[in-house]
Symmetry: C2
Subunit: 286 residues, 2 copies
């Protein structure tokens, strides 16, 4: 049985593999600090510097949901805001993943290239990743398994959590993005047209974050991961996952800096509120 969870995101069609519920286990390597693990008490006045422990979001999700597929942020600007990140290319002509402070493009079938300087993005989420916690997660057989295991380490219902997972994955199902033919196509219609591809026993890095629903107008809500292989040959938006045992680095984040696009399209658009996103489970009995 497969379930497809359609999260309202550029590429958030997270399909979950066979569910083998038995044998799940996970253990913490490092004790989670109690209370406010990454509180804003990192300067003398109790406020975090804005570049630290902050999600930097270029363009609110609601722009994509109103078919605004063009923005004006560049890779050079993105890496100023963080060392890991996920996003997409203008006109949805590919996905983006930032690992170790470098932005890579992911073409429609997963091919990787370093993002050119003149690239622009309509939606990018960057994080200056400084994990304070590493957890070990085992026996993951689906996206749902991963989500459930990670949520065990979320001590706040209303914070962001950023993640980095390095290692060898038994199975990854990914999607990417292809250039929109019609700029007015709805995001949901578009999502159904993407190519999916899989890899087995592949080494690489997953980066991503969890965004609570109440911030879903701003940052794509729910769990959201992009992958980059170790050999930098393949990547994509994570759709499904299996692995035996991996360490996952975790960072709670309690600030978001939203940068609004300054394109005429964004400035002039009547943003429909009804399009506001939220994580929605849509089950297909495959």
């Amino acid at each position: 049985m497969k379930k497809i969870i359609l999260l309202f995101s550029l590429a958030l069609l997270a399909s979950c593999g066979n569910q083998t519920k038995e044998g799940l286990s996970s253990s913490e390597k490092h004790e989670h600090q109690h209370g406010h693990p990454h509180s804003h008490s990192t300067d003398e006045h109790g406020l975090a510097p804005h570049t630290e422990n902050t999600i930097h979001q270029y363009a609110p999700t609601v722009a994509l949901l109103n078919s605004i597929y063009e923005g004006d942020i560049t890779p050079q600007q993105m890496v100023q805001q963080g060392n890991i990140g996920i996003g997409t290319v203008n006109h949805l002509a590919g996905e983006l993943v930032a690992v170790d402070g470098v932005v890579y493009t992911i073409d429609a079938e997963g091919g990787i290239a370093e993002a050119p300087n003149d690239l622009e993005s309509p939606n990018m989420t960057m994080i200056n990743f400084q994990p304070k916690q590493t957890v070990t997660v085992e026996n993951i057989e689906s996206y749902e398994d991963l989500t459930r295991e990670l949520q065990k380490y979320s001590t706040s219902k209303n914070s962001f959590y950023a993640y980095r997972i390095k290692g060898e994955f038994k199975y990854l199902k990914m999607a990417s993005a292809h250039k929109v033919e019609n700029e007015d196509v709805s995001l949901f219609e578009y999502l159904d047209t993407r190519v999916m591809y899989t890899r087995e026993n592949i080494k690489g890095t997953l980066v991503g974050l969890f965004t609570p629903d109440y911030l879903g107008n701003i940052v794509i809500p729910g769990m959201h991961f992009h992958f980059l292989s170790k050999d930098k040959k393949i990547g994509g938006h994570l759709e499904d996952i299996k692995f035996d045992k991996l360490s996952i680095e975790v960072q709670e984040v309690n600030q978001v800096n939203l940068q609004l696009p300054e394109t005429e399209k964004f400035r002039n658009k009547d943003l429909k509120q009804g399009a506001a996103p939220k994580a929605t489970a849509k089950q297909n009995g495959k």
Copy 2:
């Protein structure tokens, strides 16, 4: 005829005075810069420093709408984030207004005091106000008049606009806030219990901002002003306004930095999404 416009905010019961539509006029003193008047091109890489041209929001609006009336930001932290601002005191025991980098409390009937260092707020919006435009607005007979005139200078439908209005006001109707008796009272029920008061021919400063609806989960949506008299004896949340002719300083803002509370109450609350705010007109035939 009076209309009461209930905007979904802590104190956003904006009642409008007699409507005399004739004779409205306004003129720009300084030409608005075309296109991107306050673009993020203030550093070499095209990104604004985060302390500039950014709305600093402590706690999302949705927290107030879920009856979270306690936060942990202090006046010392607030003035690090901007020189003007609007907010409220913990347990809604008064309103806050920041003018010229100083935070003042406003008691339930409008009395002013400098905010003590140990004060905490559940919701505060600070702006490092650096206006690039000054406009002259004339013959304002209601809150609606003011809103309509200011919106003439908004060249983006989807940006924030911050305002400062200094001068003598023919008429101001204000409200403040009094400590909640029941911490679980709904914000809407609470708003109906506030005291209103008026002043005529009073000198002082109004500070505030316009927030587009799609950001209403984060910052109180619509127009929102707080007043501080020149003699620092009275202030309040603006409900209605009349003046003959005043200069208004305007700043478009295209970034918002949202700081999440780190109180246990916020971390543990199931935030109801149905409570998400939007500007709603509620007309009373008074």
